[in-house]
Amino acid sequence: MTQAIVELKDVSKSFRSADGNPRLVLDDVDFTLRDREIVALLGQSGSGKSTLLRIMAGLIEADQGEVLYKGQPLYGPARGISMVFQSFALFPWLTVQQNIELGLEARGVSTEERERRAEQAIDLIGLSGFEGALPRELSGGMRQRVGIARALVVEPDVLLMDEAFSALDVLTGERLRDDILDLWEERTIPTRAILVVSHNIEEAVLMADRVLVFASDPGRVKYQMNINLPRPRDPNSPEIRGLMDEVYAVMTAGRVRSHKPHDAQGGVPGEGEVERLRLDERLPEADFSRMEGLLERLVDEPFNGRADLPYLGEETGLTDEELLPVADALALLDLAHLAGGDLSITALGQRYVAAEFAERQTMFGQQLLARVPLAAHIRHSLLQEPSGEVPLKPFLDLLSETLSAEEAQSVLDVVIEWGRHGEVYAYNYNTDMIQLPESEQAD
C-alpha cells in the first residue's frame, strides 16, 4: 500500500569489454524503493550494486527495462534524488558553506534563502563553526558530514548512500550512522526513502528495513530479508546476531543458479559444497599470507577449528570486505569449509597448519591445480612448450571475453600470485611470460 518512489523493472545493463563483447553486469533486476523505508544493498566487489545505484541516480542509463521515479521515466539525474559519495566528492576550493550551497546555487535559489537553508543544514548535521573552513582542513568524518549536509539541504525525496562510511574509521562511521538514523526517526528531514550500498554487513543490518544481497556475474538479487525491529538496534542482541549470521551464510554460499531471489521464510539457503569453478570465473581477491594467517587463527583458541564469521572478523580486525574473500579462497582450495555463516577447518587444512613451510607450499600448489581450472590450464599449456615458457596475453584475452578488462587483469594477478606461492609456475614481469618454476627449470 505504501507508494513506490523508485521502481526498476527488468533492468539489464551490459558493459562492452575490450574486444567488443558485451558483458552482463545486471540481469533482469526488479527493485522497488517505497515510502518510509531504508533499504541496504550488499554484495561482493563487482556484483553490480554500484551500477544499480548509479542507474537509480540517473548517472548511467539502463540498456533494457524501465526506471521510474514517482511513476515517471528517469532519463538523467532527478532533482529529488541526492547522493552521498564514498570519497566525499567535496570541491576543494569551496568552503564548507559553499559546498553545501552548491545544489541550491545550481537551482537558482536566491542568496539569502541559500544561506538560511545552509545554516539550518549545518546546525542539523553538527558542523556549526566550520562554515568558512576548506575541506583540506577537515577530518574524514567532518568531510562526510559536509557531503551529507550537501545532499540533505536540497530536501530530496530519495537519499542514495554509496558506501558512505567505508572511508571512515569504525568509530566515526558509527557516530555518523547514528546521527542519520536519528534524523530519520524523528522525521527532521523530509527524505522519504534511503538506499544504502555497503560492504559492511553489521551496518546494513543495523540501518535497514530491508536487506538485499546481490550475486555477481551477472548481478541479480540473490536474497532478500525484511527486518522489522525498531531502531535504534543493539548490535549485541541475539536477534541482530541471528540476522547477521543469516546474511553471512547467504553471502558465502556458492554461486546460486536460480533466477529469482529467495525469501527469508524459506530457511537458510546455500548450504553444501562449493561448486566447481568455470575457467573464466572470478577468483576471490585474497593474498596467501592472509589466508595462512586466518587459517592459523582458526585453529587457535577460542575457535578451535570452527568460527562464526562475524566473530572471526571482530577478533582479527578484518572488515567484511577483507574477510569474505579470504574465507571464500580458503573454501575454494578446500582448506576450510563455509556453511551457514561459519568457517570450519577441514582435515586438509589441519594438515596444512601443522606442516613446515616447504610442505605447505607443495600442498598449496596441489590444491591450486586441483581446484582452480585456470591455474591447471596455465600449467598444462606451459608443459607443452619446449621452450619452457608461454606468454600471458592469450590467457588475458580468454578472460576478457567474459570479464571486463580490469577484472580479467585482477583474476590473472590472483592466479599468478597463488601459482608463484605454490611453485607451479613462475612469471617474468619484464617479458610478460609464464615460465616453469625455478626448481623445474633445466640448467
Binding site: 548509479r54 542509463e61 521515479y69 532527478a78 570541491f91 546555487e105 545550481a106
Partner: protein, 585 residues
C-alpha cells in the same frame, strides 16, 4: 596613526569632517597600494594610445638606441606579451571546451594542435603579417596585431593542451556530484572544470610568458614585401644593437628585460599563484605554499579588495541565469544516441580533407621545389637531429650527476631549483652575439661550435627536473641504500638512475622540443654584417625566411614538423610510457 574600529570620537582633526568622508577613507593598506594601481593604469593608457598611432606602410618608425628609451620600449613589449597571453587564454578555453564536449571535434582538434605545436613561430609570422596590415589600414595597429599574433603562437599551444588535459582528468566522483546536484554546463565549467585546471594552467601561463621572450626579437622586427618594419620594443632595440655591433646596448637591454620580468613576476604571477593555492587538488602531493606580498597587502585593504569581488558577484549572477531548466524526469533529458551513420560520415569527411591536403602539398612541392630539394632538406633535418640528440646526451652526462647531487641535499636543492627555473625561462638567444664574437675571433668551425647554442637555453629543463626527481626519492629508500652499503657503479645502476628516470624523461622531452625550436635562431646567427651558418634545417628555414622564398619556407617547416612528430612518437612517448609503467614509486 591609530584606527579604532568602533569609530568612537577622539580628539583629532578628522572629527570635523562629515561621517561619510571619515568612514570612506579606507585603511593604510588602501593608501599603500593606491600608487601602484594608479601607476599601472596610467602606463596602460599611455601604451594603448601609442599602439594606435597613424602609420603608412613604407614609413620609417623612429627608433633610438638611446638608453633613456629603454623603459618605454619595455612597456610596449610587456603590453604586447600580456595581450598575447590574454588571447592565448581565450583560445585555450574555447579549444579545450570544444575538444572535451564534442567527440567529433576532438578527433580533429587534437592532431591539429599537435601539428601546430611543431611549427616554428617564424613560419606563422611570414604568412599572417600582410593580412593583419590590411585589417587596419593607416594605423600601426595592424603591425602590432601581427606582432601580438606571433607572440600568441609561442604561448598558446601548451596552455591549450594543458587545459584540455586537465578537463579530461577531472576526478570521476566530482563529475558525478556535479551531475547529481543539477549543475548546468556553464555552472560546471566555472565551479568545477576551471578551478581544477587552474594550477596547471597558471604554471603553463608562466612558462608561456618566458617562451614569448625567446622570440621577442623575431616578432618585433618584421619583414614584409622585402621591407623591414621595426616596432618600438626591446626586440627591435636588440636587433638594432646587433646590426650596430653594440655589445653594451645588448647588455643594457638584457638588464631592462630582467627588471621587466621581475616586475611582472611580483605584481602579476606571484599574487595569482598565491591566490590559486586554494585550487590545489590534494592528491597532487604537497607543494609549498606560495606567498605574495602584494596579495597579502590586497587582502588587508578595506576598499581595494572589493574590486575583485565584482567579478565573483557577476559570476554568481551568471550562474543563476544559466541554470538547468529541467531535470532528469523531463523528456528533454532523454539521450538520443548519436547515429553511427553521422559519425562515419564525419570521419569520412575528415579523411577526405586530409587526403586532399596531402595531395595538394605533394603537388606543390613537386612543382615549386622539386624532389631533389626535398631530399636535401631531409638530409639537413637529419644533421639537426644528430645535433639535438648528441647535445641532449652530453647535457645529460653533465647535469644528471650534478642534479642528483643537488637534489639529495634538501637545503641546496630548493635554491638551485629556483635558479635553474629562472635560467630555463631566460631567453638565451639574447646572449648568442657573445658566442658569435668568440667564434669569429678564434676562427672556429660553426658547424660544431654553434651547436651548443641550441641546448644552451634548454639544458636547464634537464637540470631542474632531475633535481626535482632526486629530491622526491623516499627517505626510506635512501636509508636502505646506505644501510646495504651500495657503492660505485651498482649504486648508479640499481638505485639512482632508475629513481630519477621519470623526471629525466620529462626534462628531456621539454629540452628536445625547445632545442628544435631554438635551432632556427641558433644555426643562423648574425653579428653586424657577419653571419655564421651551421648546416642544418634551422639555418635553412632562417635563410629562406630572410630571402622570402615562400615554397621553401613551407618545405623546411613541413620537414621539421615531420622530424619532431616522429621523434615524439618513436622515442619520447615510448620512454615516457616506460617510465610510467616501470619506474614510478
Amino acid at each position: 596613526m591609530d584606527e579604532r574600529k568602533d569609530g568612537s570620537a577622539r580628539p583629532s582633526p578628522l572629527n570635523f569632517f562629515p561621517r561619510q568622508v571619515v568612514d570612506a577613507s579606507g585603511n593604510r593598506w588602501d593608501w599603500a597600494l593606491l600608487p601602484i594601481v594608479f601607476a599601472l593604469l596610467v602606463l596602460l593608457a599611455y601604451g594603448a594610445r601609442q599602439m594606435a598611432t597613424p602609420y603608412e606602410l613604407g614609413h620609417e618608425i623612429p627608433l633610438s638606441r638611446d638608453l633613456s628609451y629603454l623603459p618605454y620600449y619595455l612597456l610596449r613589449t610587456t603590453m604586447r606579451m600580456f595581450m598575447a597571453l590574454a588571447a592565448s587564454l581565450v583560445f585555450s578555453v574555447v579549444f579545450a571546451v570544444l575538444a572535451t564536449r564534442y567527440r567529433a571535434m576532438e578527433k580533429v582538434l587534437i592532431p591539429f594542435l599537435d601539428i601546430l605545436q611543431s611549427i616554428p613561430i617564424l613560419g606563422f609570422l611570414s604568412i599572417t603579417v600582410t593580412g593583419f596590415i590590411a585589417l587596419f589600414p593607416g594605423s600601426l595597429l595592424g603591425v602590432e596585431c601581427a606582432a601580438i599574433f606571433a607572440i600568441f603562437t609561442s604561448q598558446a599551444w601548451n596552455m591549450a593542451f594543458s587545459l584540455y588535459q586537465s578537463l579530461k582528468t577531472v576526478p570521476a566522483e566530482l563529475q558525478e556530484a556535479a551531475r547529481v546536484f543539477q549543475l548546468s554546463g556553464w555552472q560546471r565549467f566555472w565551479r568545477l572544470d576551471l578551478p581544477y585546471a587552474m594550477p596547471a594552467l597558471l604554471w603553463n601561463m608562466m612558462m608561456s610568458m618566458s617562451g614569448g621572450w625567446f622570440f621577442v626579437v623575431a616578432s618585433e622586427a618584421i619583414s614584409v614585401s622585402n621591407q623591414s618594419i621595426k616596432l618600438p620594443g626591446i626586440g627591435s632595440y636588440i636587433a638594432m644593437a646587433i646590426e650596430a655591433k653594440d655589445l653594451n646596448a645588448i647588455g643594457w637591454a638584457v638588464g631592462a628585460m630582467l627588471i621587466g620580468v621581475l616586475l611582472y613576476d611580483q605584481l602579476f604571477f606571484r599574487p595569482l599563484l598565491a591566490w590559486a593555492d586554494k585550487f590545489r587538488f590534494e592528491e597532487i602531493g604537497g607543494g609549498q605554499e606560495q606567498s605574495s606580498w602584494l596579495l597579502t597587502w590586497l587582502r588587508r585593504t578595506e576598499h581595494l579588495q572589493r574590486v575583485p569581488e565584482v567579478f565573483s558577484h557577476a559570476l554568481q549572477r551568471s550562474n543563476v541565469w544559466f541554470k538547468r531548466q529541467h531535470d532528469g524526469t523531463s523528456i528533454r533529458s532523454r539521450n538520443t544516441p548519436s547515429s553511427p551513420l553521422l559519425t562515419r560520415a564525419w570521419d569520412a569527411v575528415v579523411a577526405a580533407c586530409v587526403l586532399i591536403a596531402v595531395w595538394q602539398l605533394v603537388n606543390f612541392i613537386h612543382s615549386a621545389v622539386g624532389w631533389t630539394e626535398v631530399g636535401h632538406v631531409f638530409l639537413l633535418g637529419f644533421y639537426t637531429l644528430v645535433r639535438v640528440m648528441v647535445l641532449i646526451g652530453l647535457a645529460a652526462l653533465i647535469w644528471v650527476p650534478i642534479g642528483i647531487g643537488i637534489g639529495m641535499n634538501p637545503r641546496l636543492s630548493e635554491k638551485v631549483q629556483a635558479l635553474a627555473q629562472f635560467l630555463a625561462a631566460f631567453p638565451a638567444n639574447l646572449l648568442f652575439p657573445i658566442f658569435v664574437v668568440g667564434i669569429v675571433h678564434f676562427q672556429l668551425n660553426p658547424n660544431i661550435w654553434l651547436s651548443p647554442l641550441m641546448i644552451f637555453g634548454t639544458q636547464w629543463y634537464l637540470l631542474f627536473n632531475v633535481i626535482a626527481g632526486a629530491s622526491t626519492i623516499p627517505t626510506e629508500l635512501r636509508y636502505a641504500a646506505r644501510n646495504l652499503g651500495l657503492r660505485g657503479l651498482l649504486r648508479w645502476r640499481r638505485y639512482l638512475l632508475p629513481a630519477v628516470f621519470p623526471s629525466f624523461v620529462t626534462g628531456a622531452i621539454t629540452a628536445s622540443g625547445g632545442s628544435w625550436n631554438a635551432s632556427i635562431v641558433s644555426e643562423y646567427v648574425s653579428w653586424g654584417n657577419e653571419t655564421l651558418v651551421a648546416t642544418g634545417i634551422g639555418s635553412y628555414i632562417a635563410e629562406m625566411t630572410a630571402t622570402g622564398d615562400f615554397p621553401r619556407i613551407a618545405l623546411g617547416i613541413g620537414v621539421m614538423c615531420i622530424y619532431v612528430m616522429t621523434l615524439n612518437q618513436l622515442l619520447w612517448r615510448r620512454l615516457y610510457k616506460l617510465s610510467e609503467d616501470r619506474m614510478h614509486f
